[in-house]
Amino acid sequence: MKITKKEVVHVANLARLDLDEESIGKFAEQIDNILEYVDILNCVETKSVAPTSHAIFLTNAFREDKVKEHLDRNKALANAPEKEDGNFVVPKVIG
C-alpha cells in the first residue's frame, strides 16, 4: 500500500476537501494504483540531474513598478458571493 485511507483523509484535509466514506475508499484504491505506477520513476538514475520547473529558457521577467490600468473595486467585487461596503465578506474569523 502506497497510501492508506487515513492518509487520504489527512491529505484531503490539507486541501480543504471533505470526502464521504465511499469516496475515501474509492480514492484510496485509485490513488494507490496511480502512486504504484508512478514508482517506475525510481528506475531512472537522477543523482546528478537538475530538476526542471520551466521548459523554456527565460530570465526573470521584470517590469517597472508603475500603476497601470486595473479593475475598479466594483468590477473586482462583481463575482463575490458576499460583499459589503466595497469588501469581500467571510464568516467571522476572530472570536
Binding site: 484531503a12 486541501a15 480543504r16 496511480i34 520513476l41 526542471t52 521548459a55 463575490a80 467571510v90
Partner: protein
C-alpha cells in the same frame, strides 16, 4: 450553399469580395448550432445575440475597407478562456456563474481582429480529462458516432469544429487536450510552443504545461488562427518576446530536404491499436513520397513520461486550485458560519471527483516527506525527457507519431479507471513536459469510421515547419474532406 460548412480562409475570401456578409455567415452557424447541439452538446454557452452584434460590427468594418483574416469569422472558445461579460465556467459547478470582468489576451487579439464569438465550448472540468466526460455541466458526443467520446479536455472545441458549429475554435493543451480531441474528431489541432501564446486570462490548470492553441477544419486555417493569437504579452511572465512568423507563408508545396524523425520507442509501446499504427505508417510513407527523408530517432525516457506528468500536473493543479475558496468568486456554501468549514464545504460541493482526485494526488506529492520522492524526482525525469528531444532534433526537423494509441472510445468505457485514462496520453504529454509544439492532422479512419490523427512535433518555436509538413500531407490526402453525417 450552407455557409457554416466553409473554412476560415474560404469564408474570408467571400467576405472580402462581399459575396457574403458576416451576419449571413454567423446566422448560418447559429442555425446549425441550434439544429445539432441537442445531439453533439459542444457548447456550454451559446452567445447568439452578442455574436450577431459582433457580426454587424464586422460587416461595417469590412464595408470601410478594413478586413483581417478573421474579420467576421465565427469562432468557438473553450470555456476556460476568460471572455469579458460572457460566462466562463471551466465546466465546473464551482465557477458555474462566473462572469469575467476582463478578456484573456487571446480574446482581446481575436476581438481586435474582428472575429465573432459564437459561444463557449464544453470541456473536462478544469481541463482534467481525456474524454470531456468529466465536465460538470454536460456531455459532449463525438460527431462521427454519438455513442463515442469526442476526446478531451477540449472535446467541445473539437466537436464544434467537426460538426460545423463554428469555423474554428480555441482550446488549451496541458497533456494533449487539443491534439487528442482533434485526432478523435478528425480536425486539425495545434499546441504551440510553451510561451508562444499568452496564458493571461486562461484559467490555470498546470501553469508550466498549459498552452492555448487553435482547432480548425484544415491546416491553412490553423496557420491563420495560430498567427492571430501568438505573440508576446507582458501580462504573462512566461510569454516569450520573439517575433511571430507569418505562418500562412509556409503553406507551400515541397518537402525536399526535410528530415522526419520516427521515435523507435513509440513502436514498442503496448496498447497501440493496429489500425492507428497502420494509418500512421501509411502517413509516414506518404510524407516520404513527397520528398522528405525518414530517420529513426530515440527518445529513451518515453516510458517514464506518463508517471512524471501525473506527478507534476496534479502538483501544480493542487496549488492553482487553492484559489477556489468561496470568497472572491464562484460558489459558496452560505450556511457555514466557520471560515474553514465554509472552505471545505464549498470546495467539496463545487469540484467534481476527477478534480478532487488530482488535488489529493498533487497535495500528497508536495507534502512534507514526499516532495523529494515525487515532485523533485518527476522534475528531474522531466529534464531527461527534454534532453531526449534535444538529441532527437539534432538529426531531424520534425517527429511523427500517433496522437492517441486508439481511436475514440465509447462513452463510459474508461471513466471508472483513471490510470487507464491517463495512460492513453502517452504520445502527447511529453511535448508539454518539454515545452515543444505538437499538432494533430487527420490521417485515416478506423473500420468503424472513427477518425485517426497523425502527430507532428517540432523544436521550440518551429511551428512553421510542422505547418509545412502538415500542409503537404493534407494536400496529398483526402481525409480532411470527409465530414461526419449528422
Amino acid at each position: 450553399m450552407n455557409l457554416y460548412k466553409l473554412t476560415i480562409h474560404e469564408a474570408h475570401n467571400l467576405l472580402k469580395s462581399r459575396e457574403i456578409s458576416s451576419q449571413e455567415l454567423t446566422k448560418s452557424v447559429l442555425n446549425r448550432v441550434e439544429s445539432v447541439e441537442p445531439r453533439v452538446g459542444a457548447y456550454i454557452t451559446v452567445a447568439g445575440e452578442t455574436a450577431m452584434a459582433q457580426a454587424e460590427l464586422a460587416d461595417k468594418t469590412i464595408a470601410e475597407g478594413n478586413i483581417t483574416h478573421l474579420t467576421g469569422i465565427p469562432l468557438a472558445i473553450k470555456d476556460l478562456i476568460c471572455t469579458k461579460n460572457l460566462r466562463t465556467t471551466c465546466a465546473s459547478k464551482i465557477l458555474e456563474n462566473f462572469v469575467p470582468p476582463y478578456d484573456a489576451f487571446v480574446i482581446k487579439k481575436l476581438k481586435k481582429a474582428g472575429a465573432v464569438i459564437v459561444g463557449k465550448a464544453n470541456m473536462d472540468e478544469f481541463a482534467m480529462g481525456s474524454s470531456t466526460e468529466h465536465s460538470g455541466i454536460k456531455l459532449t458526443n463525438n460527431p462521427w458516432d454519438l455513442s463515442y467520446i469526442p476526446g478531451g479536455s477540449s472535446g467541445g472545441s473539437a466537436a464544434a469544429v467537426a460538426a460545423n458549429m463554428c469555423l474554428g475554435s480555441l482550446g488549451s493543451d496541458t497533456g494533449g487536450s487539443i491534439r487528442q480531441p482533434a485526432s478523435h474528431c478528425g480536425v486539425v489541432g495545434m499546441k504551440p510552443t510553451y510561451g508562444r501564446v499568452s496564458r493571461f486570462g486562461l484559467v490555470a490548470f498546470a501553469s508550466s504545461l498549459d498552452q492555448i492553441g487553435p482547432l480548425t477544419k484544415d491546416v491553412a486555417d490553423c496557420a491563420v488562427l495560430l498567427k492571430a493569437i501568438s505573440g508576446y504579452d507582458a501580462g504573462d511572465s512566461t510569454s516569450v518576446p520573439m517575433d511571430v512568423p507569418d505562418y500562412t507563408t509556409f503553406l507551400e508545396k515541397g518537402l525536399k530536404g526535410f528530415k522526419i524523425g520516427i521515435p523507435k520507442e513509440y513502436n514498442a509501446l503496448s496498447g497501440l491499436d493496429a489500425e492507428v499504427s497502420e494509418a500512421v505508417k501509411n502517413a509516414v510513407k506518404t510524407i516520404e513520397g513527397l520528398g522528405a527523408e525518414c530517420v529513426e530517432v530515440s527518445l529513451p525516457h518515453t516510458e517514464y513520461a506518463v508517471a512524471a506528468y501525473y506527478v507534476i500536473a496534479p502538483s501544480e493543479a493542487s496549488s492553482n486550485l487553492a484559489r477556489y475558496d468561496g470568497v472572491k468568486y464562484g460558489l459558496r456554501d452560505k450556511d457555514k458560519n466557520d471560515l474553514i468549514e465554509m472552505y471545505r464545504s464549498t470546495r467539496s460541493m463545487g469540484f467534481g471527483s476527477e478534480v478532487k482526485r488530482r488535488i489529493i494526488i498533487g497535495t500528497y506529492c508536495l507534502s512534507a516527506g514526499y516532495y523529494d520522492a515525487y515532485y523533485r524526482k518527476a522534475s528531474q525525469v522531466r529534464t531527461l525527457i527534454i534532453e531526449d528531444f534535444k538529441r532527437a532534433f539534432k538529426s531531424c526537423d520534425v517527429l511523427l507519431s500517433p496522437v492517441a494509441p486508439t481511436p475514440a472510445f465509447k462513452t463510459g468505457e474508461k471513466t471508472e479507471d483513471p490510470l487507464k485514462m491517463y495512460l492513453s496520453d502517452i504520445f502527447t504529454l511529453s511535448a508539454n513536459l518539454a515545452g515543444i509544439p505538437g499538432m494533430s492532422v487527420p490521417c485515416g479512419f478506423s473500420t468503424q469510421g472513427l477518425p485517426i490523427g497523425l502527430q507532428i512535433m517540432g523544436k521550440h518555436f518551429n511551428e512553421e515547419k510542422m505547418i509545412k509538413v502538415a500542409y503537404n500531407f493534407e494536400q496529398a490526402t483526402d481525409f480532411h474532406n470527409k465530414k461526419p453525417k449528422l
